[in-house]
Symmetry: C2
Subunit: 357 residues, 2 copies
DNA sequence: TTGAAAGCGGTACCAA
DNA sequence: TTGGTACCGCTTTCAA
């Protein structure tokens, strides 16, 4: 006869417990519930997941016992046997967290609706992924959403570890990783066109940090269109925050000797900084003297004192898509890669002279 | 002879695997590593945690094998035996997430430094805790930081579940729960004093939602001092966002027939809304015609176009304290409750006439 | 429908 | 320092 789980020990512990609370302040297990309900532990287990065949009466007895004991199934133990942690890793950069909190907020809501928990990793810089991934593997997350730069090797690691991943606002080099994006390339082209039609000829661009995919894509979009228009913009590097936007504007004004019609900032926060700088230190009237546009459509950009002309990302749709795609791929890892690209919406705002407004 | 872990099965699986990758695409376990390194599984386990006695040579062999296999200890499995998930639940409200993202950002950094992972729960409203707690229990988090309202019953649940908790910017009714706060009571008194000394006589207060501890404490602070000064303020309810600040200002102006010297908003975002409203629709000059103060010292409040007069919370210190207190209590659950209250720092800004500036 | 029992992948104690 | 082994608390066959 096999020794089994050493029921003697279990029984002893259970008998030693008072009827309402357990000895040693242990948290109740399914065995405790089973004992109290007078059923087997398997029955308890079946009660707590869908599709377990259980008689209504038994079920009721079990649930009563569970209730009396304050029993909650241990997600760790169940994760061990099912290989499902019900955890999704979310990797975002500090800058998104601080300057575009809507993303995390929405994402959190979407994941919640899909009944998975979010393990949050915020990176100081986009490049800090390295140390973080180990933790991701250890916790056996069911999947991940990444709004940070991953190099091909890191992306490969997700595949090796069988962790489905969805990229947020970026694509992998080979386009083989599921992604959700805001179509920034055309968005920037479009806004450049409108500025140009309205008469702008001297353009400046304030970029994000060099390792930012989001930034380079937007810069490319603007630059491509400007090239077609025969315009060579002045370009300065920013860091996504208002201060660097202000600094960027100063630099651009210097570079152009003050002859600057329009400034394209790759995000709203820098546009805000640039606007403040233009109005304040430079004494310019926006948009009469200079047009400044951003990108994102963040709440801050929408404040009355800025009312930034920008392109709003459909964050709700994007986060919803990202969460849904991930959940799909957790269930069916072999789904083909898919890239969902959402168009942004022009918000006219009041910081730019645009044609047709 | 006890059957043990059924090594036959394990061996079979292991032998079935190619030398580099495993059969069936399984993720490698400590048994696989042990096999490859030619040591026992226990040795592998000891290699991966501190204090395990292991010979340097053995250790090296094991680490090499682990590396070759891409082995990462399974946090779920180890959590099962150690009763430590290395997870900390963070409960915050949507409003903090959106209007004061610095808190989450810093908290994330602090927890990271202490080597625990963060399970994030963002609540639509402070009162939405209910459904969330079940998830907290199930995941057997080692502790929790709550920046949302918990009723006594909910706080009790943390004790019953042996989950140490630290309250952020709020205290429990009985003061028996470890908390980190920003001293808002005196802060508001102080700012009211300065406004009063500068000549303000007609005061308005824009509060947060009624279920917000933060709001009521700040309101009380301001009101107490005003009472001492013999002033009865007009009070309107806001919702922590700029729009409600604007609306609040309008309401206050109506209530006072335009005779309004100073408005105390319980957070910066509402102050921003109020400022916009005052400058815009009301055509007032701030602070000449009206003083408007906020609370928090958020990045948005610091933007040039607002430069809100406010009290800055020392977020870095507060989050650091919260994380440290929690970790202490995870290690030693019986530490006495402690409340750490940090004073805020007045940021003079330019939206209020203050005495002595 | 029910219960027995074999894991899931580690940890920790113990004897060697 | 090592390896053997009994768990941790749950899920999931498999018989009954």
């Amino acid at each position: 006869m096999p020794p089994g789980r050493d029921d003697a020990v279990r029984k002893h512990r259970i008998n030693g417990a008072a009827s309402t609370s357990l000895a040693g302040g242990r948290r109740p297990t399914s065995y405790d519930v089973a004992q109290l309900a007078g059923v087997s532990q398997s029955a308890v287990s079946r009660c707590f997941r869908s599709g377990g065949s259980i008689a209504p009466a038994t079920r009721k007895r079990v649930l009563n016992a569970a209730d009396a004991l304050g029993y909650q199934p241990n997600a760790i133990a169940s994760g061990l046997t099912t290989s499902r942690s019900n955890l999704v890793a979310v990797l975002i950069s500090r800058h998104v967290m601080l300057y575009y909190p809507e993303v995390l907020d929405e994402l959190s809501g979407r994941l919640d609706e899909l009944n998975v928990r979010m393990l949050l990793f915020t990176l100081r810089h986009e490049g800090d992924v390295k140390g973080v991934l180990d933790q991701v593997w250890r916790h056996r997350v069911d999947g991940a959403i990444a709004a940070v730069h991953l190099d091909p090797e890191q992306i490969g690691a997700f595949e090796r570890h069988h962790v489905p991943i969805v990229l947020y606002n970026r694509r992998s080099a080979d386009g083989q990783i599921p992604s959700v994006c805001c179509e920034s390339h055309f968005g920037e082209k479009w806004i450049v066109d409108r500025l140009h039609e309205a008469g702008a000829r001297s353009f400046g661009i304030i970029t994000g940090p060099p390792d930012s995919f989001v930034s380079s894509e937007r810069v490319d979009g603007a630059q491509d269109r400007l090239r077609e228009l025969g315009i060579i913009p002045n370009i300065v590097e920013g860091a996504f925050d208002p201060a660097s936007g202000a600094q960027g504007l100063r630099a651009l004004i210097e570079m152009t000797g003050g002859k600057l019609d329009a400034v394209v900032c790759v995000n709203d926060q820098m546009a805000i900084g640039a606007i403040d700088e233009a109005r304040g230190r430079c004494g310019l009237v926006v948009p009469r003297d200079i047009s400044i546009v951003g990108f994102d459509g963040t709440a801050t950009g929408r404040l009355h004192s800025y009312d930034v002309t920008t392109i709003r990302q459909p964050v709700e749709r994007m986060t919803e898509a990202a969460a849904a795609m991930l959940i799909e791929r957790i269930a069916a890892p072999d789904l083909p890669p898919e890239i969902r690209s959402f168009a942004g919406k022009l918000i006219a705002g009041s910081t730019a002279m645009l044609a047709g407004t």
